[in-house]
Symmetry: D2
Subunit: 136 residues, 4 copies
Amino acid sequence: MSNKETLAAFFREEFPQSDFVIESVGDRRARLKQVIDQRHLRPGGTVSGPVLMGVADAALYAAILGEMGLVALAVTTQLNVNFLRKPSAEKNIIADCHLIKVGKTLVVGEVFLYSEGDSEPVAHAVGTYAIPPRQE
Amino acid sequence: MSNKETLAAFFREEFPQSDFVIESVGDRRARLKQVIDQRHLRPGGTVSGPVLMGVADAALYAAILGEMGLVALAVTTQLNVNFLRKPSAEKNIIADCHLIKVGKTLVVGEVFLYSEGDSEPVAHAVGTYAIPPRQE
Amino acid sequence: MSNKETLAAFFREEFPQSDFVIESVGDRRARLKQVIDQRHLRPGGTVSGPVLMGVADAALYAAILGEMGLVALAVTTQLNVNFLRKPSAEKNIIADCHLIKVGKTLVVGEVFLYSEGDSEPVAHAVGTYAIPPRQE
Amino acid sequence: MSNKETLAAFFREEFPQSDFVIESVGDRRARLKQVIDQRHLRPGGTVSGPVLMGVADAALYAAILGEMGLVALAVTTQLNVNFLRKPSAEKNIIADCHLIKVGKTLVVGEVFLYSEGDSEPVAHAVGTYAIPPRQE
């Protein structure tokens, strides 16, 4: 079972461009914080859609790695995102992921995305990862 | 604000072919029970996908009516369903809906569907309803 | 490779309650016609959403069977439907399915749904089927 | 009606960080090219999912602006993406968008994404934009 530090090291090594913080992981859940700076914004003073989608995808991946170990080859097969409210440009994004099915070949999870400190979500995502067969 | 009895009467009147039971409604939530009989099954001894989708859609509608009053003209614009586990042919289907955005023109909600008595969901849906402008 | 008659016989045998007509199948495509009668309608004089979702799902299944042979155990894992226009209660529903990925374990396809004779779609669906491993 | 040059100027002005090329726009369609460089890649030698999602979203936006004029306040409300094949790290990404409903308040379109020169899509997206009411 991966813990938070193992996962953080994995992301630093494998995805050096990623700049989120893993706040917690385990029990089919993961919580990430994406620090928002100028590069993540779009006109109108808000966080861009692709940034939100990227954080949702990363939160799913972190929850899966936390649950299944470092199955680096897991790949997203599908992601559905609803954009609910305009995120604040002044606040970081928090992603709360919860896996709703952990199968041998497919894992499905949902993610609520928040502007840090707010109680209403700015977006909601549901995604599927395909898990490669284990070579034994 | 609609209550359970008002809603049940509304569905009996407007959707006489519907045969679900409203177990609770209010606070941006609704819980329905679809009694499963032979007509809802498909080969392999399981509940058919369209039945699950129909119950998910009805749970969203019930939650919206419970929240906004009897806006009969609300229409589904989008529904995304993940089928997670094979539902039992022997058990009723329970739908738990939670609205995650209640806007003036769009309402978004998610629904977990269960075989009655089981703790792992058989399906998960996210849907959007468009609310017609109020004539005043 | 299944042809139209083989598929029609398969659906009659396995899904006796289904009442659509397979108009064509092959080349990663399938076209179904759902004859619409009173049972498929909802208040407001239109075809109900679950009927549209059921026809979309069946069109995906027919296209997959036409492409891969009678893999009866293929199951829908995900279906996303956009409802675009109010279908006419007076017209049959035509479903045009096109598979966009035929993988060994996952097949993805899209379906345009029309009121028969109309050029603008009433709904659009994208769905995924999981194909069980072949026992050899 | 916007043409390709007007749109390109709009994106340069409003989204200075965007680096795609509008290859064509009009007739409810838009075709974009995203030049792929090191920043768009992820481990395993492929284009990252968020890049694909960003290009799909931009292609929808370009098609909408091409159809409706420069309604800068149109916002994505929902995006569903299926990842179909591993895109080549050596090839640019082409996005082909086709609007399937152009309503007064909601526009729905689909996007096929290709590695340039390949005939099979690497991803497929369906998205919805909400159009703000015109102030008159």
